[in-house]
């Protein structure tokens, strides 16, 4: 199990392949489900040029750990990996990676969804986006008010 909150840009494909190699579970897993969230250049009809992601150091990691423990109680999981970016981001930057390895697909599919939805609704992260105004000249910063429901 690994949880990383980082202010460095990351390559989710590299993270996946490195973790899968290093977790030393070859032959055990029959399924890996993963979710990658990426920053868009539009939100609520406005053009977005950048974003700042704030978190609560300590509580954020603790909450992510709790979500993973809950998932492990509900499903048969071999390994989990969560990487979440904080700090200054640009459109197309990966924001989050959730990956789950299990023997069969049901556990990997359902647990990865559960972890991702709990992360979106409860893990302490806050997005502030830089919006380009209609005149295309000026920009303003605004906090994203709420995440949309994933179900």
């Amino acid at each position: 199990m690994m949880i990383k909150v980082t202010d460095n840009a990351f390559d989710p494909w590299q993270e996946l392949s490195t973790f899968q190699l290093e977790m030393k579970r070859d032959g055990e897993y029959g399924a890996c489900a993963n979710f990658i969230g990426t920053m868009r250049d539009m939100n609520e009809g406005d053009s977005v040029s950048g974003m700042f992601l704030e978190h609560y150091p300590g509580m954020t990691e603790r909450h992510l750990d709790k979500i993973v423990q809950q998932a492990k109680e509900k499903w048969n999981l071999l390994e989990t990996l969560i990487v979440h970016r904080v700090g200054e981001l640009l459109p197309n930057d990966p924001i989050v990676l959730v990956a789950v390895w299990s023997a069969h697909r049901k556990d990997a599919f359902e647990a990865s969804r559960f972890i991702m939805e709990d992360l979106k609704s409860k893990a302490p992260f806050w997005k502030k986006e830089c919006v380009v105004e209609a005149d295309q000249q000026t920009q303003k910063n605004r906090w994203v008010e709420k995440n949309t429901s994933g179900y």
Partner: protein
């Protein structure tokens, strides 16, 4: 340390209050120390720190880095945080 000294020390411990995101901007600070005197619940702490501010948004609470309810009890030495709905992922 004798027991009485230990009690005096605990009574003097402040509550550490943290603010995040839009609430940090509203209050103009990310952290403050408060005397626990007269403050028994998270809601007491919130009313104390937000007095005079126009807070129209929803506010979430945590105590010692775990989500808490308005009537959750706070103690000297606790870390209490106030923040808006989360928007990660």
């Amino acid at each position: 340390m004798t027991q009485s000294n230990s009690q005096m020390y605990e009574e003097a411990m402040p509550i550490k209050v943290l603010y995040f995101a839009s609430l940090k901007e509203l209050f103009g600070r990310s952290e403050q120390q408060l005397s626990a005197d007269g403050l028994s619940t998270v809601e007491d702490v919130w009313k104390h720190v937000s007095e005079g501010y126009d807070v129209s948004q929803q506010v979430l609470y945590s105590i010692n880095q775990e989500y808490a309810q308005a009537d959750s009890l706070v103690q000297a030495g606790d870390e209490v945080a106030f923040f808006p709905p989360v928007t990660g992922g």
